[in-house]
Symmetry: C2
């Protein structure tokens, strides 16, 4: 939600004949007053009020009530805390209407109407604003209700709640005064639950509460129910401007000028006897999405009893046994609401003396797995279109299929002991380690570790990497912990308030619970929840039939192809299974790091003579060919882009620092040597090491990223290119011989000038022609280039004359466009930049539209002027990032390529990109 889509100004000035109050049965009139826009209705009546009125209109039984508009709130605040003219009169009018509907009257001891007064802004601000229940009670009404209901405990309990709630919320008395009285009362009978207080105790509490109000507030507790109502409405209005609410809005980017509406609803009670009940239910299973009601209820109970767990609840299906008619009606209403809102609903209901009332309905929260199944089911049921199903699933939800998650059964038994920001998704469980070194040590011993820190710093990174998950007590969404955790795919919850870490005692305290370092905790980076125990995990997987169906719909809507980056046969097989339409990037250098091959590679680099070098190159060929054969088989005719050797050669040589240490050690050994043979052996070793060091130094570069790598290697050592091209085309010939179709594309990396490309292309074509001749196959040499150097993008017109395809290496392109080495930036200034908001996004995670995107645009402009249907994609991490995929589509790219695991996410994002374009072209500008 961004500032733009929530900020709106109440353009018109208020007039005295404005309608400030709407009954739940006046929705049409509210709609007319704002020209029928549902968004504006929600602005006027608030989300809750609009929904209550909407339910009323479609015939769902909702307790009668009315809404005081958000505009009234704004006007009240504008007037410095004064109702606008006629507002109160309009309230009284609607109140009268409720009284008529219910046959009850506010303040009438014989048939008293009680109402709740609830805030309800346009956007949900949970817990941020005020609510007062049970308005309408006073001594006389209480007496009358006890007489008529015979349920003295319930009535007295409601009364003490009203006084406490009214006292604190409306009159501003600090809640502690009331809580102290309750504590004392509980202590007197040695209980921990207010529900155990008996009638005498409640009466005494009520008296104490009254005197607290009399003492602490500027006025005594108002006995006139109308005063109660008026003051409660005012209190809700005021709460809009409270510090807590303002802070929340600032954080959630909600505009300050929206105001809150106030809903006044007649109270219904589920605890009036065995013909009464209360419950909550989802219209489908929120964990796995299966159809059918899921929820809990209690006979003769209040709503909070269901939530608080003071009595064991019963599953909703058993309601049919107790109250078959009610059960049937609720099921009917649930279905009606689902059809109306075209989504799974989360409902609260109360049955008062055999009458069913819906108190609330909203789109139900669900797991990613449930979300996908529900979307697919709804589409298959014809309730929503396939496009809508696809658009309802977020990339993060697809991602969630890959993350470990808590076993639902195990989770239901676990208690949330803290909640923080859900900054890096996935669930993790392990023992608490309070410092990174310990985390690393324990992890190396095979223990699952959760690193728990007040906050993290660059020095902690080794511990973060060793841990299964990360929990911090401070820091926000752009904190070091959040960024690093996301970066490296570690589940993380940060800024968990109320978590107190004591590094000297080696303990962590969650509110009241204290645990030791080494004790188990579990964190859910998807929700932000923290648990003080070990919870069983389920590994992520993509083999979900609903997901498969949804993604097949996504593919049908997409224009962008999704390919995968894969260097090996198994990677390619996985990519194909995840729906990749080809390999967008096979990095051949990864093949040379294999222990079998590295020595040959080093031989090639350190060869003294050309013959020696050519021999080493020749020895590499069979390995390369075998790798490509596997890839081609796995992709079965889908395009496979193979990038020629890219990294600087020193990457294949031993680590310089290690070698330096080795030499120093050898020198010390030499000094200590006592026998001549020992001495000689050390001298030999030192000489050998020095020779190696000379080679390493010869290949050492100040800025290796900008040094002798990529196409530059191929230009300097064309034999390398010949070897790689030969391996590619020989592998293709082998696979063709097996009867498997094959479509290799050869990619030249790091080109900055067309001439480099032209020369390499010539070498590749020569190799291809020789293989074709030798093997009697015909297979065009498709040769393209990677655009990863700004100059290649700027001179794309020339390059396109010779290249068959372009692939944007957006990682390097970002590095060079920003003048920023990813390694150095991410371990250096970049986190500071993101924390301080200098950069709003990490450009290595999300493709930068203004700079890199502009360069891509210029490149495509130039290239397509030369070759109008030039194939062009992006490979690298951006290819799996939904925002970047959207940008790629806008820029006119033809494919994205990402790691096999990201392919499903990318397929969804590609469909979203298409839907966004469609909706932006459909929307009148």
């Amino acid at each position: 939600m961004t500032m733009e889509n929530v900020r709106e100004h109440d353009a018109e000035a208020a007039t005295t004949d404005d309608q400030w109050v709407y009954g739940f049965d006046e929705l049409s009139s509210a709609e007319r007053s704002v020209d029928g826009s549902w968004d504006r209705v929600r602005g006027l009546l608030g989300g809750k009020g609009a929904n209550l009125a909407d339910m009323t209109r479609i015939g769902v039984p909702v307790p009668p009530g009315f809404t005081v508009t958000a505009r009234a709130c704004n006007e009240y605040l504008r007037r410095g805390g004064e109702f606008p003219p006629t507002l109160w009169e309009q309230v009284l009018e609607r109140l009268h209407s409720i009284e008529e509907k219910t046959g009850k009257t506010l303040g009438d001891p014989s048939r008293p109407l009680l109402v709740a007064c609830r805030s309800g802004a346009k956007f949900s601000m949970p817990g941020m604003m005020d609510t007062v229940l049970d308005i309408g009670l006073n001594d006389a009404v209480v007496a009358g209700m006890i007489a008529s209901s015979g349920n003295e405990h319930f009535v007295l309990d409601s009364y003490r709640r009203l006084i406490q709630m009214f006292g604190s919320v409306v009159l501003g008395v600090h809640d502690e005064y009331f809580e102290d009285v309750l504590s004392a009362a509980r202590a007197a009978i040695s209980t921990s639950s207010d529900a155990d207080l008996d009638i005498d105790a409640l009466r005494s509490v009520i008296e104490s509460f009254k005197s607290i109000v009399a003492q602490r507030a500027s006025i005594p507790f108002p006995t006139d129910p109308l005063d109660q109502l008026r003051m409660a409405i005012e209190a809700v209005f005021e709460s809009w401007d409270g510090k807590r609410a303002r802070d929340y809005r600032a954080a959630a980017h909600i505009a300050n000028d929206l105001g809150t509406a106030v809903n006044v609803v007649s109270m219904v009670f589920g605890n009036t006897g065995d013909e009464s009940a209360t419950g909550v239910a989802m219209s489908r299973n929120a964990t796995n999405g299966a159809p059918g009601l899921e929820g809990d209820f209690l006979i003769n109970a209040q709503g909070e009893d269901v939530v608080a767990g003071t009595r064991p609840t019963r599953p909703i299906r058993e309601l049919a046994d107790e109250m078959p008619e009610m059960s049937e009606e609720f099921a009917r209403i649930a279905q009606m609401l689902e059809s109306h809102y075209r989504d799974m609903q989360d409902m609260e209901f109360t049955i008062e003396n055999g009458v069913l009332w819906l108190l609330q309905t909203r789109d139900g929260k669900r797991t990613a797995q449930a979300a996908v199944r529900i979307a697919v089911d709804l589409a298959n049921e014809g309730m929503i279109s396939r496009s809508e199903a696809v658009s309802r699933i977020s990339p993060e939800q697809i991602e969630a299929f890959l993350h470990p998650r808590f076993d639902a059964a195990a989770l239901s038994a676990a208690e949330v002991i803290a909640t923080g920001l859900n900054v890096s998704p996935g669930a993790a469980t392990g023992v608490v380690a309070l410092d990174p070194d310990l985390a690393e040590r324990w992890a190396s011993e095979g223990r699952d570790v959760i690193l728990v820190r007040p906050e993290t710093k660059p020095d902690d990174v080794h511990g973060m990497l060793a841990a299964r998950g990360i929990l911090t007590s401070s820091g926000g969404r752009t904190s070091h912990a959040a960024l690093v955790a996301r970066q490296f795919g570690r589940p993380a919850v940060v800024g968990a308030e109320g978590v107190d870490i004591d590094l000297s005692d080696r303990t962590v305290t969650f509110e009241t619970l204290t645990i030791q370092e080494g004790d188990y905790v579990s964190i859910d980076g998807t929700t932000g929840d923290v648990y003080s125990e070990k919870i069983a995990l389920i590994e992520g997987d993509m083999d979900d039939p609903y997901l498969t169906e949804l993604l097949s719909w996504a593919d049908e809507m997409s224009v962008l192809d999704v390919r995968a980056n894969a260097d090996t046969g198994p990677d390619a097989t996985r990519a194909a299974r995840f729906g990749a339409l080809g390999i967008g990037l096979c990095r051949t250098e990864h093949m040379f790091f294999d222990p079998d091959r590295l020595p040959i590679m080093q031989q090639m680099i350190m060869a003294d003579t050309r013959t020696e070098r050519d021999q080493a190159i020749a020895a590499l060929l069979p390995f390369q060919r075998a790798d490509f054969t596997e890839l081609f088989r796995a992709m079965n005719g889908k395009p496979v882009i193979i990038r020629l050797l890219d990294p600087p050669l020193h990457e294949f040589l031993p680590d310089r620092d290690e070698l330096l240490r080795e030499i120093a050690d050898l020198q010390i050994k030499l000094l200590r040597a006592t026998h001549l043979t020992e001495l000689e052996s050390h001298v030999d070793s030192i000489e050998h090491a020095n020779a190696l060091m000379a080679q390493i130094d010869a290949h050492r570069e100040t800025n290796p990223m900008l040094g002798t790598r990529g196409v530059r290697l191929g230009v300097l050592i064309p034999e390398l290119t010949t070897m790689q091209a030969t391996a590619i085309f020989e592998a293709a010939a082998d696979v063709i011989d097996e009867g498997i179709p094959v479509y290799p594309e050869v990619m030249v990396p790091l080109v900055s000038d067309v001439e480099e490309f032209v020369r390499q292309r010539r070498v590749i074509e020569t190799a291809a022609a020789q293989v074709q001749e030798a093997r009697g196959i015909t297979l065009a040499a498709v040769v393209g280039t990677m655009i990863e150097v700004p100059r290649a993008a700027l001179t794309a017109g020339e390059i396109a004359e010779h290249a068959d395809f372009l692939s944007f290496g957006t990682n390097d392109l970002t590095q060079m466009t920003y003048g920023m080495s990813r390694d150095d930036a991410e371990s250096g200034f970049l986190l500071d930049y993101l924390e301080a908001g200098v950069f709003s996004e990490n450009p290595f995670a999300t493709l930068d539209a203004k700079g890199v995107g502009r360069l891509i645009e210029l490149c495509l402009e130039g290239a397509r002027a030369a070759k109008p249907d030039m194939e062009a994609g992006i490979c690298g991490e951006h290819g799996g990032d939904p925002t970047s995929i959207g940008l790629a589509r806008q820029l006119g790219l033809t494919y994205v390529s990402c790691s096999p695991f990201r392919v499903p996410v990318a397929r969804l994002a590609a469909a979203h990109a298409e839907l966004a374009i469609k909706s932006s072209t459909e929307r009148p500008s």
Copy 2:
């Protein structure tokens, strides 16, 4: 000269009534035949023929003659070696006309006409094609001439020359046969000069030559002068197609289809007695440009006597003593030619029996110093415009003022022993070293060394840098030696043929002369000449009044301002003296490397606490302020752009490898320690060194160029920016107090996003405001940014909203646009790329128009859309490169900034850029 401007096709087909031959007096007719274009006249008659005809027309006494056209040559070659119809008839007709003018007849023993037959193509191809002199001699004519002239020796000598020249050039007899005869004759009288051969010896030589021809050639020496002439003309035609000429044209990018003209000129003789003389002269002094004839003559001598130095020549001014009339006439003609050609002339003349003949005139070669003085004088004399004077001087000539050059007097006594390619200008003298290690050692002992190698490789670079100059026997203009020498400003001559280096004997042989390693040689990288002795050098300087005047004219025509890069007061003073209009780049980091300051800088970097860091920063302030004060004083109100700290911090820390070695040494010492105190001291040292190493490693980066540097430092440590800004504005206040005007501009480096700039600008403005408040001055904070990261260029529209000026850091911009680290590229693949022609230019020397230039263009487009008169320049080496300056002007930049020494070059180049724009807009398209 490029292929384009020399290639031209003879579009019309030849017809039989074509005019193939033009007398020197038929220039107007030749002009008419090619529509009056002088360029086409030169194409038709060749450069020499056109000039001889031109001199004839303006009344200069030129020996009568005619030109056979280049089209005739082409037609002859097209016909497989056959004269086109009527050609020979036309030759005979013009020959007759010469005979009439001279009163002599070809082959007439009593009054014989002798002619020379010289090639003359459109573009000079010195020594590449053939010439035959003294055509017309045979036994009878020789006898007649001896009788009439009484100069038997001269006539016989001419005869033997004709037979030798005709035999080798026309008849294809190997010259060695003739030379062997001459050697024997010289040996017989123990002389080394042919001139010493007496009459008998000459007669014997002539007989031997005749029999050589009879034996070796397919025909005997032709006695008919008309046969001689016809065959000579054919031989010149054929020489156009000779291998030597074709190779030359390929190297000089001269088209093969131009053909050569042939000039047939009547011979005149300066050795017919005391009324005869011969000489060469320049119309002005070729060394210093002073007005007045300069040259040499000999009474009763042939032209080659003057050149060969067999007799001591006399200075041209003494001609007035010997032949006052002739002297006066020559002076008049010299002036006439200078006026006609509007440039200093290099003339050959002969006086035959009291009659003056001009044999040749051409624009005279001159030193850079002379070129400048002559251009200025010609403009002041009204002969050329100031624009023309400026355009006649090349940037290299301005540069030459800076290079050491040979003392003219010392040079005139020295002999050129070899000539190679003049690849890196300037003169150098020193002892020969044949390997780089020796060069380095001798240089370190204070000896001046010339490194002489067959060719150079990257391993030789340390020796090249230690040497005063470099000489190689092979390699071309893009060889390693050439590129490195130019790069580091070492004079160099490469590919000097005939130089034979013997690395086992440690000798160098120049043709016949052999010298030892350690002997002196001198090389002139401006001309390509090599001398086998020590020659006194004159250091370069810019304090030349003519240069000053020329550059002041250049400034008047320029739109581009030229500023200098200067970090210190003395640099700034020099820049101002060289005419810089401001400081375009002051690199503040250079100030921190001073031994006084480096420890404070290190303290700042390694501070454990913020207080410690801030103290170190505060300690740096007075140093910075003092530096800026000096700069401001030197520039006296001209703009001074000061760039905030740019390099990564590790550059200020000790070298890591050195420290590693130190630690290893300490560990060895520790092992060897025998006393406890010694042991403890080593342990302490190791601990200290390890702590330092930890700091170094903390600041170590994989690609420091793309790491935490530039604005990133300022964003992370705003206190640094505050300190630098405070120092700038306090220094400005100090200088204002001294009554000196000041105009500082603060430049933020390496910006990639506008937000970085905005934050730094805020810091700078705050510091400025505080100084202004404290010092009671008003001085706007002018804050701009360096565009050195592609993204800055791509998002310039945003940046321009906040920046007061832009400066392109084209070095870094080139590195990032190409993805190429300069250090790594130049010690790695770049030389290979240039040698192999993958890149046609070194983009670090000459600004790349297609990539980097395009980016600059996009940047200015964006920036000027936001701020139409945005000041924008380039700083860095490109700012001193003439081609890059031309591009800068085309792109619409407002200034260039370069090293102080390059400022004069840049001023000239800026004027050239303007003249080029003018001429391109004047020229109809």
